[in-house]
Symmetry: D3
Subunit: 323 residues, 6 copies
């Protein structure tokens, strides 16, 4: 059975495919009969679903995050899309491709990682180059880097989002280093590559994007510094003053106390790294919201973005040049 | 008489040169005798000076901003440098080169302006290109653009600073446009070139860097929008929706209400322009402070920067690559 | 068919009248049958409505903002008022009086505008008087001034609200000028009349109160200054320093950066104008909320006002004087 | 000996008058000899003074706040005005008029108090009128009301300033009550008259404007409410709900928690009272600063006002009307 | 009929007990038939309930806060618990024990009050001891103290909560006084006992925890100071300076202007009292939320606490000591 | 030569003692002659000093932080105390006791450390007890712990201040653990002992209290966590979840993002630790300021404390109990 994606469902269409089950609830009608409510999801979106009758006994064993095969019809209920399920069972591992069920970055993580390694090769300060290469080559971190998202929502909340965001920040910083000769390019690129490394332990992405206990209690900035210090210990003779600056840049990359950095940038590299991280995160938020929250009543506009406190306007493309 | 610059004065040295007179005061000794106190300045710095005796009558006609020729000796008083004047008279116009008396940008303004014009030529949206070219070619603005500072203090507070900062923001934005395909390059570069145009009427730079009345009462953002609207009226058929976006970007380039932008960025171009302007201003502040406020008691550090609320650390250059 | 107003509907009553249609949705019952949901509104309020059967085909062509004639019964559903529609069609232009469908100010706009013109006549500084009179007499602006609301919600969100609020601010400022001899009455009254002029282009009020694109992207303060500058250009010899002060007052009328004014009041007139605008807006918010959000569980009190962050207490009228 | 006022001193002039002595210090020259330094003040200003020789023994008994008779010469020292004293003695009570030594309001306090009493007579709610009249007629408070300043600096920092500010706020509130019929005039005027009553115990004005211990530890809002509650107890049958509202208005007259009001306005009268108090205080600050801190280098401007965070611009008077 | 508590209801179980009726609504089905919706509560929790048929006429006389006897069945509706009522009538006074219907503190108020009296006996400064004893012995306040909650929600929102919180703050302050010899123990314990006395008039707890009018308009800090001043007047010769300090401590116990204290602590006792009050309130909030808002999806965690802006983590008990 | 302390100097007295030299400057009189200006300090205070003549050549080799022996006379200059030096030379190591020159805590550090070790012995959770004991027994840290101050100014800015503050926080936390059974005493006391451990590398105290480079760039919270993680690695089998909570408590001990904690307390222990740290720091600031900044013009009061934004009031001791 080939996968039908949420984004491709059409009203009135019969559906026969597998999805990620979320928010599973067994509810009761006024008559006392039970029915099943759940949300079906895959990497293209999500849709509420109901199953009105003949609940098979094994349904009580379903857990959020299971992948289920369903048959049913796609329609609407109270103006909202809804899938009415006729049959449902748990999918077996061989029937599914895990990567179909969580959103994925548009960038190929392997390619992004290869790009970071290439950048690492251009760092001319030996201890910094060594630090970056040890980390990029770490056999335990490597598979995590290839999968991790950069956030649980808002921006780069997709498998591969960690590398997509990191590569983008590195690219911006490389441009800054060309633009401002006063910047120490080696220090800036090193910390651009490493700045979010703590997210590998702050987040989990096993069929849900969420925080780990360490993520909530400690946060990726402090976790990342512990990880980097671990690698620094493995490099004999790494200069202390250089280590201080690496740590300072990572510590300050949120730019302000109120955003969770316990110190504010005191060096030009810390300043530039924060600028790159901030711009890339905000561009990610703008573009994701523009894509998912267009307001049909106000062409060109999105709905109100609560945490930004404003509507966003989607710039139509430039007028064509005069022929 | 060739110019001796403040930065070149040495203790015990006789001085015979011309300087900009500032903060002129005729003071009284305890004995009742009068003496002259003033500050002598040129584009390399400033130094307090006193004249103990034989004040010539014309001294009472001196005004702040006059250029004076002095003879005297450079020494120190209470641990601070001071110039003791023996003779002083007003300099005549032919004796001086005006550009010796205010700090100048390290970048050649003519070159910067040529670069902006070249960038303008790459804008492919005809009305935007036309708008930029009309402004860059405006015969009244051109000499002002070549001279104006970007601020009265802190960063780019030098003749030519306006173009130095503008060219730098344009360079950053060009990099952003290459980095993010979603950005409308034409709109972004247009507004990067124009974003600070209001500073030409917010500031004055006639022997002192200061605000005009309009600068204090209205500010360069609102002034700049008025100027741009004037040019927009001169371009028949400039699309309304495009004009709105140009104005939005300029209006928002300070990024937040608290920093004097009456709206916050709602488009990706406004977001990117603010990021470039903010980074370039902060880099300017960091580099200027690192240069002028090194703290000899704390090698590598500056004194405390009050408005930033921190010390700055001057990153030593990277270690040399392994041979 | 005479108009029955929302405010006059009574439970159990048959209804036969026309209303403004909003939030039109064709929904599906569990059985798969469709039904119509919409909100019916007029200048006195709004009520949800449903039509359970026999949806006429032309219903799919209805758009938000259309005026419809309905027959049905007014009742309640889940404790909320609801109108159950039996028949519905689009109203023709001759059947309706447009002014029945949006809330209207309690003040007669023609009267308010006449009052502003009278005030303008008392301005003794010729260029200021001329500026105000040109604007009040502008044939394009005049019909807009007579109709515009002052906001989309909260206070003076009614046709005619613009003039009601402007006239009230002018009245307060006139009192301030009598109270404080140091105030330049001509400048204060001029800017009181003009302070919100940008709202004529920030808002739209065609069967809905909403922001225009320019309103969202630029805002009424900056728009208003552009409009005033246009009129200033048409007055030969208008003194520059006076123009600066007019613009300063309008620019600062929100009083603080955080409230969208890019400068804070630097003159006593700007200070007084902000005080009048702020008091009148807050009085409008208090009185509107007290009227619409009384909390029956707490006599004398309103519900919690979220943006003000408090409950409001409606002062009972003063005790009668002793006889 | 008639009084010569500080504001009338001219350079080179012999002086023979009495002043308030402040900041008295006996200092030592490098030679070891002692000399006297102090500040001489009266209601028109203050001037530093020195006495170089023959310090009479009784000088060691002088205390800040004493009135002294001096003979000497007025000149300048280091560009600053200074009075050089030849002879000095303490003045006797009969030689002086106390009111010459502290700044006085331009308004006659007796006249202001009479005006408040007249306003009180127009209050038609008997218990409110009674409350105001009891307080205005209180034999202990009356002399304090006639003398008290409204602040120790910034605005209305003059003998009589309390009544000047109170009368001004009452005048503004009377205007508001005419303007907004929804306002309970009796409640608003009552609380306008009483709002700052706590300042009579928050401040002291015995030859210096300063805070009392209660002023620093408790503040005039809480003190004032205690005083009002004391008077309320003396009026049998004062309605509880009315008392609550009186107290609420006084409690909230600073408008925001951050400005020291423990509650924010919940009634329209509290809102209006705050608006009047705030406008009058700010007008006082603007006008006092414009008078005392003009910046000769920037005609029309004051120096930078630190707590307001801006320069102030003194509006030139309106142009004369066309003849 | 013995009481069945909400916390003991089990799905499918028949119920026959009395509860507090809240949020009573008579609703209409689509068919036009009426049904009853209400919330049933007691000191252990609350549950929504419906009665589908045969509404007895006296149901229209029910008011929120009445105690009703119901027969019915406990089940779920749309995944939420719900009680379906078959019969309902108002309970008579003799059938119920009032204390069953509002949450109660786990501490015995009589015991807490006895503890406060014992502490009062250890105060060695006679006027302070006298002040506390007069208040604790006040016959009008005593029953209120024994019942009052400390808040309407969040922490100590239970009958007896006032004394529970007060006793806890007193205990903390007693520890502080032992820890810091610089603290005046008598002043600190006196104000710890009295700090929240105003809550007796700020809150009401007659079958609902809510604010009084005075509570909303004036607040417990100002109310409490009025009450304390009343008692101070009854103690002849109470030292003024001591009274000032008592009032200062109570006034400042919220610690910051933004939290409703019109002054910030200026004495070490005021500082220590605020620290104790703040810690005890926050501990109360943490422990209550940890108990009621555990998130089953995140073991060890609560749901997100909106006003604290974070999740809470419930520390598992310490590991057992090594044997 | 026995030490004469700054606090014991009396006007007119000859002085013959050694002091710490600070702010050394060689200045020039108007005549061109040089004189020496410096500040002399010891653990009891500091005083400015001048040496008018016969500057010995070795004076140019003096550096801030040197200990010098001086002969001279103590007097005043311009109302300020000043020591006039007749002879000066550098002291030899054997002439001085280093501990005379920096302020010392009133608590004996050895005693405080012994107390912490005793507390550690009461921790019943083996891994926590082990962690604390390893750290307290660390041979490299021990001498630093015995010397370090807790801050460079404001509070506990004295040798031994680190242990004084730590012991006080531990004492408060021990009281909290007795008061609140819900607190995990072992976790709370462990983190109380360790919370400021990073200060040993954030600060330096070699004849001056200052920040290290790591202190400025990284800060004691992040440094401390690195140190603790190092010790955790040395304890086999330390439970991960316990480590997370230890780190969380240390990370949050400043309580708010704005005060430099990158996370806010999510556990009751983190909350309690922050309360103890905050109270002890503020008590330290209050008591130090009350001691050093009494305002003689306002008995009972200090001068204005700028960063606290208020005056402090020194509570007179309680009245004596009735006999």
């Amino acid at each position: 059975m080939s996968k039908t994606f949420v984004a491709d469902l059409r009203a009135g269409q019969p559906v026969r495919s597998s999805f990620l089950a979320q928010k599973i609830q067994i509810r009761q009608k006024r008559t006392g009969e039970e029915y099943l409510f759940l949300v079906l999801a895959d990497r293209t979106g999500q849709v509420p679903a109901v199953m009105w009758q003949s609940l098979p006994p094994e349904i009580r064993a379903l857990a959020d995050g299971d992948i289920v095969k369903v048959q049913g019809v796609f329609g609407t209920y109270q103006g909202q899309p809804q899938l009415t399920i006729a049959r449902l069972r748990k999918a077996s591992a061989e029937e599914i491709d895990e990567r179909d069920y969580l959103p994925c970055s548009a960038k190929d993580p392997v390619e992004s990682l290869r790009g970071l390694a290439a950048t690492a090769g251009t760092i001319t300060t030996p201890p910094l180059r060594q630090l970056v290469q040890i980390i990029l080559d770490d056999p335990a971190l490597r598979p995590q880097m290839l999968e991790a998202p950069a956030a649980t929502s808002n921006h780069h909340a997709a498998l591969g989002g960690f590398l997509e965001h990191t590569a983008s920040v590195v690219g911006l910083c490389d441009g800054f280093a060309r633009h401002y000769p006063a910047l120490n390019r080696d220090l800036l690129l090193t910390t651009a590559i490493l700045h979010d490394i703590g997210k590998l332990r702050e987040l989990r992405w096993d069929r849900v994007f969420d925080y780990t206990d360490a993520g909530r209690l400690i946060g990726h900035i402090t976790i990342g510094i512990s990880m980097i210090e671990g690698f620094l210990r493995s490099i004999p003779g790494f200069p202390d003053s250089l280590a201080l600056q690496v740590i300072h840049c990572v510590l300050c990359h949120h730019g302000e106390l109120a955003w969770g950095s316990p110190k504010e940038p005191m060096t030009v590299e810390a300043l530039a790294l924060h600028a790159a991280d901030n711009l890339d995160a905000k561009m990610g938020i703008f573009l994701a919201f523009a894509q998912h929250a267009a307001d049909p009543q106000h062409p060109g506009w999105t709905h109100f973005h609560k945490s930004l406190g404003r509507y966003l306007f989607v710039c139509p493309p430039a007028l064509p040049p005069r022929s």
